[in-house]
Amino acid sequence: MKLVTAIIKPFKLDDVREGLSEIGVQGITVTEVKGFGRQKGHTELYRGAEYVVDFLPKVKIEAAVAADMVDRVIEAISKAANTGKIGDGKIFVSSLEQTVRIRTGETGPDAL
Protein backbone atom coordinates (compact mmCIF):
# COMPACT_ATOMS: atom_id res chain seq x y z
CA MET A 1 0.00 0.00 0.00
CA LYS A 2 1.14 3.51 -0.78
CA LEU A 3 0.09 6.96 0.37
CA VAL A 4 0.13 9.47 -2.47
CA THR A 5 0.19 13.09 -1.35
CA ALA A 6 -0.15 15.79 -3.96
CA ILE A 7 0.02 19.55 -3.62
CA ILE A 8 -1.87 21.17 -6.47
CA LYS A 9 -3.33 24.47 -7.59
CA PRO A 10 -6.77 24.92 -6.00
CA PHE A 11 -8.61 25.43 -9.28
CA LYS A 12 -7.36 22.06 -10.55
CA LEU A 13 -9.03 20.12 -7.72
CA ASP A 14 -12.12 19.09 -9.72
CA ASP A 15 -10.03 17.86 -12.66
CA VAL A 16 -7.80 15.82 -10.38
CA ARG A 17 -10.76 14.30 -8.54
CA GLU A 18 -12.35 13.26 -11.83
CA GLY A 19 -9.07 11.86 -13.14
CA LEU A 20 -8.63 9.76 -10.01
CA SER A 21 -12.23 8.52 -10.11
CA GLU A 22 -11.75 7.38 -13.68
CA ILE A 23 -8.86 5.09 -12.79
CA GLY A 24 -10.74 3.62 -9.84
CA VAL A 25 -9.42 5.45 -6.78
CA GLN A 26 -12.07 4.91 -4.10
CA GLY A 27 -11.49 7.94 -1.95
CA ILE A 28 -9.30 10.95 -1.31
CA THR A 29 -8.79 13.44 1.51
CA VAL A 30 -8.54 17.11 0.61
CA THR A 31 -7.03 19.87 2.74
CA GLU A 32 -6.65 23.56 2.02
CA VAL A 33 -3.05 24.44 2.74
CA LYS A 34 -0.62 27.30 2.33
CA GLY A 35 3.05 27.21 1.48
CA PHE A 36 5.76 28.25 -0.88
CA GLY A 37 8.01 26.57 -3.39
CA ARG A 38 9.97 27.94 -6.30
CA GLN A 39 6.99 30.12 -7.16
CA LYS A 40 7.57 32.01 -3.87
CA GLY A 41 4.77 34.38 -2.90
CA HIS A 42 3.18 37.15 -4.87
CA THR A 43 2.62 40.87 -4.38
CA GLU A 44 -0.69 42.54 -3.68
CA LEU A 45 -1.64 46.19 -3.56
CA TYR A 46 -3.60 48.02 -0.84
CA ARG A 47 -4.15 51.75 -0.91
CA GLY A 48 -1.21 52.28 -3.18
CA ALA A 49 1.38 50.29 -1.22
CA GLU A 50 2.62 46.87 -2.29
CA TYR A 51 3.01 43.98 0.07
CA VAL A 52 4.23 40.42 -0.40
CA VAL A 53 2.04 37.45 0.36
CA ASP A 54 4.66 34.87 1.39
CA PHE A 55 2.49 31.77 1.36
CA LEU A 56 0.22 30.84 -1.50
CA PRO A 57 -2.98 28.89 -1.09
CA LYS A 58 -2.77 25.32 -2.41
CA VAL A 59 -4.80 22.16 -2.07
CA LYS A 60 -3.34 19.00 -0.60
CA ILE A 61 -4.78 15.68 -1.78
CA GLU A 62 -4.08 12.42 -0.01
CA ALA A 63 -4.97 9.06 -1.53
CA ALA A 64 -4.19 5.68 -0.04
CA VAL A 65 -3.88 3.16 -2.89
CA ALA A 66 -2.67 -0.34 -3.64
CA ALA A 67 1.00 -0.49 -4.60
CA ASP A 68 0.26 -1.57 -8.16
CA MET A 69 -1.90 1.50 -8.76
CA VAL A 70 0.69 4.09 -7.80
CA ASP A 71 1.99 4.75 -11.30
CA ARG A 72 -1.47 5.27 -12.72
CA VAL A 73 -2.39 7.59 -9.82
CA ILE A 74 0.74 9.66 -10.38
CA GLU A 75 0.00 9.83 -14.06
CA ALA A 76 -3.63 10.84 -13.50
CA ILE A 77 -2.71 13.62 -11.06
CA SER A 78 0.14 14.87 -13.21
CA LYS A 79 -2.07 15.00 -16.26
CA ALA A 80 -4.99 16.71 -14.56
CA ALA A 81 -3.03 19.24 -12.50
CA ASN A 82 -0.57 20.32 -15.16
CA THR A 83 -0.86 23.86 -16.48
CA GLY A 84 2.75 24.13 -17.63
CA LYS A 85 3.25 27.20 -15.46
CA ILE A 86 5.24 27.60 -12.28
CA GLY A 87 3.39 26.57 -9.12
CA ASP A 88 1.65 23.43 -10.41
CA GLY A 89 2.71 21.58 -7.28
CA LYS A 90 4.36 18.27 -6.33
CA ILE A 91 3.51 14.66 -5.71
CA PHE A 92 4.98 12.68 -2.82
CA VAL A 93 4.70 8.93 -2.48
CA SER A 94 5.33 7.13 0.79
CA SER A 95 4.77 3.58 1.90
CA LEU A 96 1.76 2.86 4.04
CA GLU A 97 2.13 0.31 6.83
CA GLN A 98 -1.45 -0.37 7.73
CA THR A 99 -5.01 0.57 6.81
CA VAL A 100 -8.11 -0.15 8.88
CA ARG A 101 -11.73 0.41 7.85
CA ILE A 102 -13.27 1.50 11.11
CA ARG A 103 -16.83 0.27 10.44
CA THR A 104 -15.96 -3.36 9.59
CA GLY A 105 -12.52 -3.80 11.08
CA GLU A 106 -11.10 -4.88 7.69
CA THR A 107 -7.36 -4.30 7.41
CA GLY A 108 -4.69 -4.03 4.74
CA PRO A 109 -5.52 -3.75 1.00
CA ASP A 110 -9.11 -4.88 1.68
CA ALA A 111 -9.67 -1.67 3.61
CA LEU A 112 -8.58 0.63 0.78
Binding site: L45, Y46, R47, G48, A49
Partner: protein, 420 residues
Protein backbone atom coordinates in the same frame (compact mmCIF):
# COMPACT_ATOMS: atom_id res chain seq x y z
CA UNK B 1 -54.18 81.20 7.82
CA UNK B 2 -53.44 80.03 11.34
CA UNK B 3 -54.15 76.47 10.30
CA UNK B 4 -51.69 76.78 7.42
CA UNK B 5 -49.05 78.24 9.73
CA UNK B 6 -49.54 75.37 12.15
CA UNK B 7 -49.45 72.84 9.35
CA UNK B 8 -46.25 74.22 7.84
CA UNK B 9 -44.70 74.23 11.34
CA UNK B 10 -45.65 70.59 11.62
CA UNK B 11 -44.32 69.82 8.15
CA UNK B 12 -40.97 71.55 8.71
CA UNK B 13 -40.61 69.89 12.10
CA UNK B 14 -41.40 66.52 10.54
CA UNK B 15 -38.86 67.14 7.78
CA UNK B 16 -36.25 68.18 10.36
CA UNK B 17 -36.82 65.07 12.47
CA UNK B 18 -36.78 62.67 9.53
CA UNK B 19 -33.60 64.12 8.03
CA UNK B 20 -32.16 63.86 11.55
CA UNK B 21 -33.03 60.18 11.49
CA UNK B 22 -31.12 59.85 8.20
CA UNK B 23 -28.09 61.48 9.81
CA UNK B 24 -28.45 59.22 12.85
CA UNK B 25 -28.23 56.28 10.44
CA UNK B 26 -24.81 57.53 9.34
CA UNK B 27 -23.58 56.10 12.64
CA UNK B 28 -24.37 52.71 11.14
CA UNK B 29 -22.48 53.71 8.01
CA UNK B 30 -19.37 54.66 9.96
CA UNK B 31 -19.63 51.45 11.97
CA UNK B 32 -19.73 49.26 8.87
CA UNK B 33 -17.08 51.23 7.01
CA UNK B 34 -14.71 51.03 9.94
CA UNK B 35 -15.52 47.38 10.67
CA UNK B 36 -14.66 46.61 7.05
CA UNK B 37 -11.37 48.49 6.99
CA UNK B 38 -9.85 47.12 10.20
CA UNK B 39 -8.61 43.59 10.77
CA UNK B 40 -11.03 40.91 11.98
CA UNK B 41 -9.39 40.81 15.41
CA UNK B 42 -10.33 44.45 16.05
CA UNK B 43 -13.89 44.38 14.75
CA UNK B 44 -15.90 43.97 17.94
CA UNK B 45 -13.98 46.79 19.62
CA UNK B 46 -14.53 49.26 16.78
CA UNK B 47 -18.23 48.44 16.85
CA UNK B 48 -18.29 48.94 20.62
CA UNK B 49 -16.61 52.31 20.10
CA UNK B 50 -19.12 53.35 17.49
CA UNK B 51 -22.23 52.59 19.48
CA UNK B 52 -20.82 53.96 22.73
CA UNK B 53 -19.52 57.18 21.18
CA UNK B 54 -22.99 57.81 19.80
CA UNK B 55 -24.48 57.43 23.27
CA UNK B 56 -21.78 59.61 24.86
CA UNK B 57 -22.36 62.31 22.23
CA UNK B 58 -26.12 62.34 22.87
CA UNK B 59 -25.75 62.58 26.64
CA UNK B 60 -22.96 65.18 26.65
CA UNK B 61 -24.73 67.34 24.09
CA UNK B 62 -27.90 67.23 26.20
CA UNK B 63 -26.01 68.06 29.40
CA UNK B 64 -23.85 70.90 28.10
CA UNK B 65 -22.99 70.84 24.39
CA UNK B 66 -26.25 72.22 23.04
CA UNK B 67 -26.28 74.99 25.65
CA UNK B 68 -22.77 76.04 24.63
CA UNK B 69 -23.43 75.88 20.90
CA UNK B 70 -26.79 77.67 20.95
CA UNK B 71 -26.74 79.93 24.02
CA UNK B 72 -29.79 82.01 24.90
CA UNK B 73 -27.51 84.80 26.12
CA UNK B 74 -24.00 84.55 24.73
CA UNK B 75 -21.29 86.22 26.80
CA UNK B 76 -19.31 87.30 23.73
CA UNK B 77 -18.76 86.36 20.10
CA UNK B 78 -15.98 83.96 21.15
CA UNK B 79 -17.24 82.74 24.54
CA UNK B 80 -20.85 81.54 24.62
CA UNK B 81 -20.95 80.71 28.33
CA UNK B 82 -22.55 77.58 29.73
CA UNK B 83 -26.16 77.50 28.62
CA UNK B 84 -27.17 74.62 30.83
CA UNK B 85 -29.00 71.36 30.43
CA UNK B 86 -31.59 70.72 27.74
CA UNK B 87 -35.17 71.08 29.00
CA UNK B 88 -38.46 69.70 27.73
CA UNK B 89 -40.17 73.01 26.98
CA UNK B 90 -40.92 73.88 23.40
CA UNK B 91 -42.70 76.56 21.40
CA UNK B 92 -46.39 77.09 22.26
CA UNK B 93 -49.04 77.52 19.58
CA UNK B 94 -49.38 81.17 20.53
CA UNK B 95 -45.66 81.78 20.17
CA UNK B 96 -45.57 80.10 16.78
CA UNK B 97 -48.55 82.07 15.45
CA UNK B 98 -47.26 85.33 16.89
CA UNK B 99 -43.82 84.86 15.34
CA UNK B 100 -45.25 85.36 11.86
CA UNK B 101 -43.28 82.48 10.37
CA UNK B 102 -40.03 83.21 12.23
CA UNK B 103 -40.48 80.16 14.42
CA UNK B 104 -41.16 77.38 11.95
CA UNK B 105 -39.94 74.19 13.63
CA UNK B 106 -39.92 72.64 17.08
CA UNK B 107 -37.06 73.57 19.36
CA UNK B 108 -36.48 69.97 20.36
CA UNK B 109 -36.40 68.90 16.71
CA UNK B 110 -33.49 71.32 16.40
CA UNK B 111 -31.72 69.62 19.30
CA UNK B 112 -32.34 66.25 17.69
CA UNK B 113 -30.97 67.39 14.34
CA UNK B 114 -27.91 68.95 15.98
CA UNK B 115 -27.08 66.04 18.26
CA UNK B 116 -26.73 63.58 15.39
CA UNK B 117 -24.20 65.96 13.81
CA UNK B 118 -22.07 65.90 16.95
CA UNK B 119 -22.12 62.12 16.85
CA UNK B 120 -21.01 62.24 13.21
CA UNK B 121 -18.01 64.42 14.08
CA UNK B 122 -17.05 62.01 16.84
CA UNK B 123 -17.47 58.98 14.55
CA UNK B 124 -14.80 60.44 12.31
CA UNK B 125 -12.29 60.15 15.15
CA UNK B 126 -12.90 56.48 15.89
CA UNK B 127 -11.74 55.20 12.50
CA UNK B 128 -8.45 57.08 12.52
CA UNK B 129 -7.36 55.75 15.92
CA UNK B 130 -8.65 52.23 15.29
CA UNK B 131 -6.87 48.98 16.21
CA UNK B 132 -4.56 50.38 18.89
CA UNK B 133 -6.33 52.83 21.17
CA UNK B 134 -7.76 51.96 24.56
CA UNK B 135 -11.56 51.94 24.47
CA UNK B 136 -12.05 54.00 27.61
CA UNK B 137 -9.38 56.54 26.69
CA UNK B 138 -11.34 57.08 23.50
CA UNK B 139 -14.60 57.48 25.40
CA UNK B 140 -13.09 60.01 27.81
CA UNK B 141 -12.03 62.00 24.78
CA UNK B 142 -15.54 61.66 23.36
CA UNK B 143 -16.91 63.28 26.53
CA UNK B 144 -14.71 66.37 26.11
CA UNK B 145 -15.10 66.51 22.34
CA UNK B 146 -18.89 66.30 22.24
CA UNK B 147 -19.50 68.29 25.40
CA UNK B 148 -17.06 71.12 24.80
CA UNK B 149 -14.61 71.14 21.85
CA UNK B 150 -17.19 70.65 19.10
CA UNK B 151 -19.87 72.92 20.60
CA UNK B 152 -17.41 75.82 21.00
CA UNK B 153 -16.50 76.02 17.33
CA UNK B 154 -20.10 75.15 16.45
CA UNK B 155 -21.16 78.27 18.36
CA UNK B 156 -18.69 80.42 16.45
CA UNK B 157 -20.43 79.50 13.19
CA UNK B 158 -23.93 78.06 13.57
CA UNK B 159 -24.60 79.54 17.00
CA UNK B 160 -24.11 83.03 15.61
CA UNK B 161 -20.64 83.64 17.06
CA UNK B 162 -17.53 85.31 15.68
CA UNK B 163 -17.01 83.27 12.51
CA UNK B 164 -20.63 83.75 11.49
CA UNK B 165 -20.29 87.52 11.95
CA UNK B 166 -17.20 87.41 9.77
CA UNK B 167 -19.16 86.06 6.80
CA UNK B 168 -17.68 82.56 7.00
CA UNK B 169 -20.04 80.16 5.19
CA UNK B 170 -20.46 76.49 5.99
CA UNK B 171 -23.88 75.19 4.97
CA UNK B 172 -23.90 71.73 6.56
CA UNK B 173 -20.46 71.42 8.09
CA UNK B 174 -17.47 70.67 5.86
CA UNK B 175 -15.67 72.68 8.52
CA UNK B 176 -17.81 72.58 11.67
CA UNK B 177 -18.39 68.81 11.51
CA UNK B 178 -15.88 67.19 9.16
CA UNK B 179 -12.76 69.30 9.54
CA UNK B 180 -13.39 69.45 13.29
CA UNK B 181 -13.71 65.66 13.61
CA UNK B 182 -10.69 65.04 11.39
CA UNK B 183 -8.55 67.54 13.28
CA UNK B 184 -9.37 65.88 16.60
CA UNK B 185 -8.43 62.56 14.99
CA UNK B 186 -5.20 64.06 13.64
CA UNK B 187 -4.18 65.24 17.11
CA UNK B 188 -4.96 61.78 18.50
CA UNK B 189 -2.97 59.96 15.82
CA UNK B 190 0.05 62.22 16.48
CA UNK B 191 0.15 61.15 20.13
CA UNK B 192 -0.91 57.57 19.50
CA UNK B 193 1.54 56.50 16.80
CA UNK B 194 1.12 54.01 13.99
CA UNK B 195 -0.19 50.47 14.31
CA UNK B 196 2.56 47.97 14.98
CA UNK B 197 3.72 46.49 11.71
CA UNK B 198 2.48 49.34 9.55
CA UNK B 199 6.02 50.54 8.86
CA UNK B 200 9.01 48.31 8.23
CA UNK B 201 12.35 48.97 9.96
CA UNK B 202 13.58 50.67 6.78
CA UNK B 203 10.63 53.07 6.95
CA UNK B 204 8.71 51.65 3.99
CA UNK B 205 4.96 51.07 4.23
CA UNK B 206 3.69 47.60 5.00
CA UNK B 207 -0.04 47.76 4.23
CA UNK B 208 -2.54 46.25 6.64
CA UNK B 209 -5.53 45.33 4.49
CA UNK B 210 -9.02 45.65 5.90
CA UNK B 211 -10.87 42.45 6.71
CA UNK B 212 -14.17 42.92 4.95
CA UNK B 213 -14.69 44.90 1.75
CA UNK B 214 -18.44 44.14 1.52
CA UNK B 215 -18.98 45.77 4.93
CA UNK B 216 -16.86 48.78 3.95
CA UNK B 217 -18.94 49.18 0.79
CA UNK B 218 -22.21 48.83 2.66
CA UNK B 219 -21.01 51.44 5.15
CA UNK B 220 -20.17 53.85 2.34
CA UNK B 221 -23.61 53.44 0.78
CA UNK B 222 -25.27 54.01 4.17
CA UNK B 223 -23.22 57.19 4.63
CA UNK B 224 -24.12 58.33 1.13
CA UNK B 225 -27.79 57.82 1.95
CA UNK B 226 -27.50 59.52 5.33
CA UNK B 227 -25.86 62.51 3.68
CA UNK B 228 -29.18 63.47 2.08
CA UNK B 229 -30.34 64.16 5.61
CA UNK B 230 -27.06 65.82 6.51
CA UNK B 231 -27.15 68.33 3.65
CA UNK B 232 -30.85 68.22 2.77
CA UNK B 233 -31.94 68.75 6.37
CA UNK B 234 -29.52 71.65 6.78
CA UNK B 235 -31.80 73.74 4.55
CA UNK B 236 -33.94 73.62 7.76
CA UNK B 237 -37.23 74.24 5.94
CA UNK B 238 -39.22 72.68 3.09
CA UNK B 239 -42.77 74.04 3.39
CA UNK B 240 -43.00 76.36 0.37
CA UNK B 241 -42.18 76.09 -3.32
CA UNK B 242 -38.89 77.96 -3.18
CA UNK B 243 -37.63 75.96 -0.18
CA UNK B 244 -38.83 72.65 -1.58
CA UNK B 245 -36.93 73.40 -4.79
CA UNK B 246 -33.86 74.35 -2.76
CA UNK B 247 -34.03 71.05 -0.89
CA UNK B 248 -34.32 69.17 -4.16
CA UNK B 249 -31.26 70.95 -5.54
CA UNK B 250 -29.32 70.13 -2.37
CA UNK B 251 -30.25 66.45 -2.75
CA UNK B 252 -29.23 66.42 -6.42
CA UNK B 253 -25.94 68.23 -5.81
CA UNK B 254 -25.07 66.02 -2.85
CA UNK B 255 -25.64 62.94 -4.96
CA UNK B 256 -23.70 64.30 -7.95
CA UNK B 257 -20.71 65.28 -5.83
CA UNK B 258 -20.48 61.74 -4.45
CA UNK B 259 -20.64 60.32 -7.98
CA UNK B 260 -17.92 62.73 -9.12
CA UNK B 261 -15.78 61.75 -6.14
CA UNK B 262 -16.03 58.03 -6.90
CA UNK B 263 -15.06 58.32 -10.55
CA UNK B 264 -12.23 60.78 -9.90
CA UNK B 265 -10.76 58.66 -7.09
CA UNK B 266 -10.99 55.49 -9.19
CA UNK B 267 -9.26 57.07 -12.16
CA UNK B 268 -6.59 58.61 -9.93
CA UNK B 269 -5.92 55.27 -8.22
CA UNK B 270 -5.81 53.46 -11.57
CA UNK B 271 -3.32 55.94 -13.00
CA UNK B 272 -1.13 55.96 -9.89
CA UNK B 273 -1.18 52.28 -8.91
CA UNK B 274 -2.15 50.48 -12.09
CA UNK B 275 -5.05 48.93 -10.19
CA UNK B 276 -8.50 50.19 -9.31
CA UNK B 277 -8.40 50.11 -5.53
CA UNK B 278 -11.93 49.66 -4.12
CA UNK B 279 -11.08 51.36 -0.83
CA UNK B 280 -10.05 54.47 -2.76
CA UNK B 281 -13.35 54.44 -4.68
CA UNK B 282 -15.18 54.26 -1.33
CA UNK B 283 -13.10 57.09 0.12
CA UNK B 284 -13.75 58.98 -3.12
CA UNK B 285 -17.51 58.82 -2.59
CA UNK B 286 -17.14 60.19 0.92
CA UNK B 287 -14.67 62.82 -0.27
CA UNK B 288 -17.21 64.04 -2.85
CA UNK B 289 -19.84 64.24 -0.12
CA UNK B 290 -17.58 66.12 2.30
CA UNK B 291 -16.52 68.52 -0.48
CA UNK B 292 -20.08 69.57 -1.32
CA UNK B 293 -21.25 69.83 2.29
CA UNK B 294 -20.07 73.42 2.79
CA UNK B 295 -22.20 74.62 -0.12
CA UNK B 296 -24.65 72.21 -1.75
CA UNK B 297 -27.22 74.90 -2.64
CA UNK B 298 -25.60 77.38 -5.03
CA UNK B 299 -23.63 75.17 -7.50
CA UNK B 300 -25.22 73.72 -10.59
CA UNK B 301 -25.30 69.90 -10.66
CA UNK B 302 -22.37 69.90 -13.09
CA UNK B 303 -20.30 72.16 -10.83
CA UNK B 304 -21.27 69.98 -7.86
CA UNK B 305 -19.94 66.95 -9.75
CA UNK B 306 -16.69 68.79 -10.39
CA UNK B 307 -16.35 69.88 -6.75
CA UNK B 308 -16.85 66.28 -5.70
CA UNK B 309 -14.37 65.08 -8.32
CA UNK B 310 -11.65 67.42 -7.05
CA UNK B 311 -12.35 65.97 -3.59
CA UNK B 312 -11.95 62.48 -5.04
CA UNK B 313 -8.54 63.30 -6.52
CA UNK B 314 -7.41 65.09 -3.37
CA UNK B 315 -8.34 62.22 -1.09
CA UNK B 316 -6.15 59.71 -2.93
CA UNK B 317 -3.11 61.97 -2.78
CA UNK B 318 -3.86 62.87 0.84
CA UNK B 319 -4.04 59.21 1.88
CA UNK B 320 -0.74 58.42 0.17
CA UNK B 321 0.94 61.51 1.64
CA UNK B 322 -0.25 60.88 5.20
CA UNK B 323 0.92 57.28 4.89
CA UNK B 324 4.36 58.46 3.83
CA UNK B 325 4.43 60.87 6.76
CA UNK B 326 3.85 57.85 9.03
CA UNK B 327 0.47 59.18 10.14
CA UNK B 328 -1.36 55.88 10.28
CA UNK B 329 -5.07 56.29 9.61
CA UNK B 330 -6.61 52.87 8.92
CA UNK B 331 -9.78 54.23 7.29
CA UNK B 332 -8.48 57.45 5.71
CA UNK B 333 -10.67 59.63 7.94
CA UNK B 334 -8.19 62.51 8.22
CA UNK B 335 -7.85 62.66 4.44
CA UNK B 336 -11.56 62.30 3.68
CA UNK B 337 -12.92 64.65 6.32
CA UNK B 338 -9.97 66.94 7.01
CA UNK B 339 -8.14 67.57 3.75
CA UNK B 340 -11.29 67.41 1.65
CA UNK B 341 -13.23 69.33 4.32
CA UNK B 342 -10.80 72.20 3.77
CA UNK B 343 -11.36 71.94 0.02
CA UNK B 344 -15.12 72.04 0.61
CA UNK B 345 -14.81 75.27 2.58
CA UNK B 346 -12.77 76.89 -0.19
CA UNK B 347 -15.07 75.56 -2.93
CA UNK B 348 -17.89 77.68 -1.49
CA UNK B 349 -16.30 80.65 -3.24
CA UNK B 350 -16.81 78.98 -6.65
CA UNK B 351 -20.56 79.45 -6.64
CA UNK B 352 -21.68 81.56 -3.67
CA UNK B 353 -21.37 85.26 -4.37
CA UNK B 354 -21.74 86.12 -0.69
CA UNK B 355 -18.59 84.25 0.22
CA UNK B 356 -15.07 85.60 0.42
CA UNK B 357 -11.84 83.68 0.32
CA UNK B 358 -10.57 85.55 3.36
CA UNK B 359 -13.59 84.60 5.45
CA UNK B 360 -13.40 80.98 4.31
CA UNK B 361 -9.67 80.77 5.10
CA UNK B 362 -10.20 82.42 8.47
CA UNK B 363 -12.97 80.00 9.39
CA UNK B 364 -10.87 77.07 8.24
CA UNK B 365 -7.87 78.27 10.24
CA UNK B 366 -9.83 79.00 13.39
CA UNK B 367 -11.66 75.65 13.40
CA UNK B 368 -8.42 73.78 12.77
CA UNK B 369 -6.39 75.72 15.35
CA UNK B 370 -9.00 75.50 18.10
CA UNK B 371 -9.81 71.83 17.56
CA UNK B 372 -6.17 70.85 17.19
CA UNK B 373 -4.93 72.58 20.33
CA UNK B 374 -7.92 71.64 22.48
CA UNK B 375 -7.80 68.01 21.28
CA UNK B 376 -4.05 67.69 21.66
CA UNK B 377 -4.26 68.91 25.26
CA UNK B 378 -7.16 66.55 25.99
CA UNK B 379 -5.45 63.54 24.43
CA UNK B 380 -2.25 64.43 26.28
CA UNK B 381 -3.99 64.59 29.66
CA UNK B 382 -5.71 61.25 29.02
CA UNK B 383 -2.37 59.78 27.95
CA UNK B 384 -0.73 60.95 31.19
CA UNK B 385 -3.55 59.74 33.44
CA UNK B 386 -4.67 56.37 32.02
CA UNK B 387 -2.67 55.96 28.80
CA UNK B 388 -4.19 55.92 25.35
CA UNK B 389 -2.54 52.90 23.76
CA UNK B 390 -2.93 49.20 24.47
CA UNK B 391 0.19 47.12 25.09
CA UNK B 392 2.09 45.56 22.20
CA UNK B 393 0.91 42.11 23.25
CA UNK B 394 -2.72 43.21 23.37
CA UNK B 395 -2.38 44.86 19.99
CA UNK B 396 -1.02 41.63 18.54
CA UNK B 397 -3.84 39.56 20.01
CA UNK B 398 -6.36 42.16 18.88
CA UNK B 399 -8.24 44.74 20.91
CA UNK B 400 -11.41 42.63 20.66
CA UNK B 401 -9.95 40.28 23.25
CA UNK B 402 -8.06 42.81 25.39
CA UNK B 403 -10.77 45.48 25.54
CA UNK B 404 -14.04 43.62 25.01
CA UNK B 405 -13.16 40.05 25.94
CA UNK B 406 -14.90 38.66 22.90
CA UNK B 407 -14.31 38.12 19.23
CA UNK B 408 -16.39 39.44 16.36
CA UNK B 409 -16.31 36.10 14.55
CA UNK B 410 -15.69 33.43 17.22
CA UNK B 411 -16.72 30.54 14.98
CA UNK B 412 -14.26 31.37 12.24
CA UNK B 413 -10.59 30.62 12.36
CA UNK B 414 -8.97 33.88 13.41
CA UNK B 415 -5.58 34.95 14.60
CA UNK B 416 -6.18 32.91 17.74
CA UNK B 417 -7.33 29.77 15.97
CA UNK B 418 -10.94 28.69 16.13
CA UNK B 419 -10.99 28.98 19.90
CA UNK B 420 -13.17 25.90 20.20
Amino acid sequence: MDAITELSYALDTFYFLMTGVLVMWMAAGFSMLEAGLVRAKNTAEILTKNISLFAVACIMYMLMGYGIMYPADAVSAWWPGFGGILGATDNTVEEVLASGGETYYSGLSDFFFQVVFVATAMSIVSGAVAERMKLWAFLFFAVVMTGFIYPMQGYWKWGGGALDALGFLDFAGSGVVHLCGATAAFAGVLLLGARKGKYRPDGSISPIPGANMPLATLGTFILWMGWFGFNGGSELIISNVAEANAVALVFVNTNMAAAGGVIAAMITARLLFGKTDLTMALNGALAGLVAITAEPLTPTPVLATMIGAVGGVLVVFAIISLDKMKLDDPVGAISVHGVVGMWGLLAVTLSNEDSTLVAQLTGLGVIFAWTFVASLVTWFVIKMVIGIRVTEEEEYAGVDLSECGLEAYPEFVGSQGSGK
